[in-house]
């Protein structure tokens, strides 16, 4: 049985290397079945260390395979399944018990962070990060020491700050710590592009098309024109004119209507409250 697992793991490695996802998925379900039979899909204290390490490896390969197939729900599921294994790892007291040399923990965690970031789920992002920071400070390090974790953390910081050029550079160059991380680059570039477009609408009255090309990180002016049309921007004399907000006067009138409604509501509320008090 244990040999069986070993075979599956090595076959998984090679299949992943050849990008044969059909075969990988098949191997994965076989591997998981083998793990289930040995009762190590969830690590128990009684399970032998070698088996636990193999179980972790199968799950990690599964996570990576699902990322390469851009299957976010499956990846999340693998990530959750890996948590008990990683909890064992975090526990310094039984470091001897678990073999952590081959663990891809930081890579998987980094990928998960990046996934959360690309989905815009900053609540979960920070929740996960908080745990990591705590753990790192326990060991007297900071999370940024780990290149896999550092990447999403810096991306998030730059995104929140608005330094979109940095995000662009990070996603574009060889700074991506691993090829799997590059899979998210497209999503992220799409995100920052729409962010920049939002900001530009508010910040600029008008913009030359050539400049817009640089600002939006697009390849050609044709792409700019296409993008502008998608967003409903007006193109005239080689410039982009952003749609102006509706007339201020009309807006203020509407404002007053809304405001008077709330004021009346509030005043009635006060009166009612006062009545209960007096």
């Amino acid at each position: 049985m244990a040999n069986d697992l070993k075979v599956i793991v090595s076959e998984l490695h090679s299949a992943l290397g050849r990008q044969q996802f059909e075969a990988v998925n098949d191997l994965l379900s076989r591997g998981k079945r083998a793990l289930l039979l040995q009762n190590v899909l969830i690590p128990t204290p009684s399970a032998p260390a070698e088996l636990v390490a193999q179980a972790r490896e199968v799950l990690e390969l599964g996570a990576i395979a699902s990322i390469r197939q851009t299957d976010a729900p499956t990846f999340t599921r693998y990530y959750q399944q890996l948590q008990p294994f990683y909890d064992l790892e975090r526990d310094s007291t039984n470091a001897g018990h678990v073999d952590i040399r081959n663990s891809q923990r930081s890579k998987i965690t980094g990928l998960y962070l990046l996934l959360l970031l690309s989905m815009g789920d900053s609540t979960s992002f920070h929740t996960v990060l908080e745990g990591l920071v705590e753990e790192a400070s326990l060991k007297g390090k900071s999370v940024e020491d780990d290149p896999f974790i550092k990447y999403p953390v810096e991306l998030e910081r730059n995104l929140m700050e608005g330094s979109y050029d940095k995000v662009w550079r990070e996603t574009n160059s060889e700074r991506v710590p691993s090829e799997d991380f590059a899979l998210f680059s497209n999503v992220l570039v799409g995100t920052i592009r729409s962010e920049i477009a939002d900001c530009s609408e508010k910040a600029y009255p008008s913009l030359p098309i050539s400049n817009a090309k640089n600002l939006l990180f697009l390849e050609s002016e044709g792409a700019v024109i296409e993008f502008a049309q998608q967003r409903g921007w007006v193109l005239r004399d080689g410039r982009i004119f952003f749609p102006v907000e509706p007339e201020a006067a009309a807006r203020s009138e509407k404002d007053i209507l809304v405001a008077s409604g709330t004021i009346i509501e509030n005043a009635i509320g006060y009166a009612r409250e006062l009545e209960t008090i007096v």
Binding site: T93, H126, Y164, K202
Partner: protein, 623 residues
């Protein structure tokens, strides 16, 4: 006079509550309760005199009524909810004097007892100062514990948790006098030697090595003596109270392992008991239970910390508490669980716990403050700053102002300051000037200064120099998020002071890496509504727009509304926090019955025609 006002309030409240008892009861409740609370209006005297001279039938009715009051079962079923409501809100409020105590026999007695105890405490204080060896502290401690036994018994017979709470409050003053000998002596005197509880408690003390050789010989002696006297049944409340004392003793002696073992066994015993009068005691037991485990290595935040082991029992306790409507234990265990989860930074678990559980709104003030603090912390981590701010404001306001609770006050203020900064507000300077906070908050004060002037370099410097402090306070990650706020404030300052500034200058002033970054950041600031400005890409500058008159906008109205709402909710909360005497409505019922009786009598007499007009008028007046 606050006491007077308070009792007035309680009048009106009891009036409304009695309306449930039917219309007839209502008409009299007003006058009867005012009789009790206001000192001696003449009518009251008349009423009392009348009450004394009621007919036989009425008085027999009376006794039947009061007899019912003595029975334990009925009030338990009936009055458990209002009880908990009334008491929990005021664990910290001094109870005896300022509240209107219903003038039943028992409680009058208790009032005397209360003052008695007060005298004891005062004496104790004086003793400490003058070091007069008049009373042996040991005998006094024993005496104190014994007094508390009677209080506990009274709590059980009257089903009034106020007595229990008073006992629990006295623990802190007694704590320094508790020794192994004191406890052993009390245990021996209270329990018969064959009692399981006694041996359970004594064993724990024995293992701690608290009993000297002389002690154990004395023990033998007493035991032999005891066997002669008839064994007395002790209440489970007394058992648990003694156990809490043992827990505290072990904790003070730093016998953590022993204490943990003892507490685990104790909780096993506790689970078999289902008595509402035990609730507040049980909550205390769980508190110390968790405290012991927190001190056992491996300590949190290590993921294998011992605290993770008590999650299961605590969750079981929470479930039982909810099923039994045991508000005290429920609140305590919930905060303990949150603390437990957060200590190992299992934030999502803590969040799930909150979303699946309802925190009892009638929990004691301290528990609510704790709960709000943890809630604020979780929400801050989840970037829900507005929620977090609300919870933390609640926590700081509700936190007890006593000296011993200063740590909580500081911790909640630290978090509050950071959250306020993250929301883009600048905390009030007065916070940092409070003597309780001044020193502890100093790094945060520097932080606020840096953020408020938008000084990015200074900000990073402070974060680096004080990073150890921030990490210890658990605010480090939150503070790292502040970087963007610093930048935003910086941009805002510049947009206010310059009508036109080049991106290059912005970049230099903020210490950013490139002009490109500066452009994007400014664009984002404009989009987020931080500044009113526009960018010129070709010439590379930012042009500020004219700032409108803020009083022409809806802003002042909104702020006004915000404040009114805060005042109203404060009023609501203070109304909710008031306590009302137990069983008041029963008394009112009684007097209502009396009144009805009198009325009937009067009517009869009037009918018969041998009645003075004057007399009748006076009587009706009294009603």
């Amino acid at each position: 006079m606050p006491a007077e006002r308070r009792s007035l309030r309680s009048n009106s409240k009891s009036d409304t509550s009695s309306s449930a008892n039917g219309e007839k009861g209502r008409s009299t409740s007003q006058s009867s309760s005012s009789n009790k609370d206001k000192p001696a209006p003449t009518r009251a005297a008349a009423n009392k005199a009348k009450a004394a001279s009621t007919t036989k039938g009425a008085s027999s009715n009376n006794t039947a009524n009061s007899g019912m009051g003595e029975q334990r079962d009925q009030p338990r079923a009936n009055g458990s909810d209002p009880t908990e409501n009334g008491v929990n809100g005021s664990e910290d409020v001094e109870m005896g004097e300022d509240t209107a105590v219903p003038p039943t026999k028992g409680s009058r007695l208790s009032g005397e007892k209360g003052t008695d105890k007060e005298g004891d405490v005062a004496m104790e204080g004086a003793e400490g100062e003058d070091a007069e060896p008049e009373v042996d502290p040991k005998t006094k401690a024993i005496q104190d514990i014994k007094t508390n036994f009677t209080l506990l018994e009274r709590a059980v017979t009257h089903f009034d948790p106020r007595f229990t709470l008073r006992v629990l409050r006295s623990i802190s003053s007694m704590r320094k006098h508790i020794t192994g000998d004191v406890l052993a002596e009390v245990i021996e005197e209270t329990y018969s030697s064959s009692s399981v509880t006694a041996s359970f408690l004594l064993n724990a003390l024995d293992q701690a090595g608290a009993l000297g050789g002389a002690r154990s010989s004395a023990k033998m002696e007493i035991e032999s003596e005891k066997t002669k006297s008839a064994p007395k049944e002790t209440l489970p409340e007394v058992d648990i109270y003694m156990s809490i004392l043992v827990q505290i003793f072990l904790y003070d002696k730093k016998e953590i392992q022993l204490g943990a073992k003892f507490s685990t066994n104790l909780i096993e015993r506790l689970r078999t008991l289902n008595r509402r009068t035990l609730d507040s005691l049980a909550a205390r037991v769980y508190f110390y239970y968790s405290l012991f485990y927190e001190q056992i290595a491996p300590l949190p935040p290590s993921p294998a910390a011992t605290v993770t082991k008590i999650r299961q029992p605590l969750l079981a306790a929470l479930r039982t508490a909810v099923l039994r409507k045991d508000v005290d234990t429920q609140a305590t265990v919930m905060t303990l669980l949150l603390r437990n989860y957060l200590s190992t930074s299992h934030i999502s678990q803590a969040d799930l716990l909150i979303s699946h559980n309802k925190f009892p709104p009638s929990a004691s003030n301290n528990q609510i403050a704790r709960y709000l603090y943890y809630l604020g912390r979780i929400r801050a981590i989840q970037l829900q700053y507005t929620d977090a701010h609300g919870h933390l404001i609640g926590a700081t306001r509700k936190s007890p102002s006593s000296h011993s609770a200063r740590g909580f006050y500081q911790a909640s203020h630290k978090l509050l300051v950071v959250v306020e900064l993250l929301m883009g507000d600048i905390p009030d300077r007065a916070i940092f000037r409070q003597p309780a906070l001044e020193r502890a908050m100093h790094p945060y004060f520097l932080l606020v200064q840096a953020v408020s002037v938008g000084d990015l370099d200074g900000f990073l410097n402070i974060v680096n120099t004080h990073s150890a402090t921030f990490r210890k306070d658990g605010t480090y990650t939150l503070i790292l998020r502040l970087r963007q706020n610093v930048i935003k404030t910086g941009i805002r300052m510049m947009s206010l002071s310059y009508s036109r500034i080049s991106l290059r200058d912005i970049c230099l002033r903020l210490g950013l890496d490139s002009e490109e970054s500066a452009e994007y950041i400014v664009a984002k600031a404009i989009r987020d509504g931080v500044i009113e400005a526009s960018l010129d890409h070709e010439h590379g500058f930012m042009k500020s727009k004219e700032v409108g008159d803020i009083y022409a906008t809806r802003e002042p109205g909104e702020v006004f509304h915000e404040r009114i709402r805060a005042c109203l909710s404060l009023h609501d909360e203070s109304v909710k926090a008031m306590r009302f005497p137990m069983n008041q409505h029963r008394l009112e019922l009684k007097s209502a019955q009396e009144a009805r009786e009198r009325e009937r009598e009067l009517a009869k007499e009037i009918q018969e025609g041998d009645m003075d007009d004057e007399d009748a008028g006076g009587d009706f007046d009294a009603i």
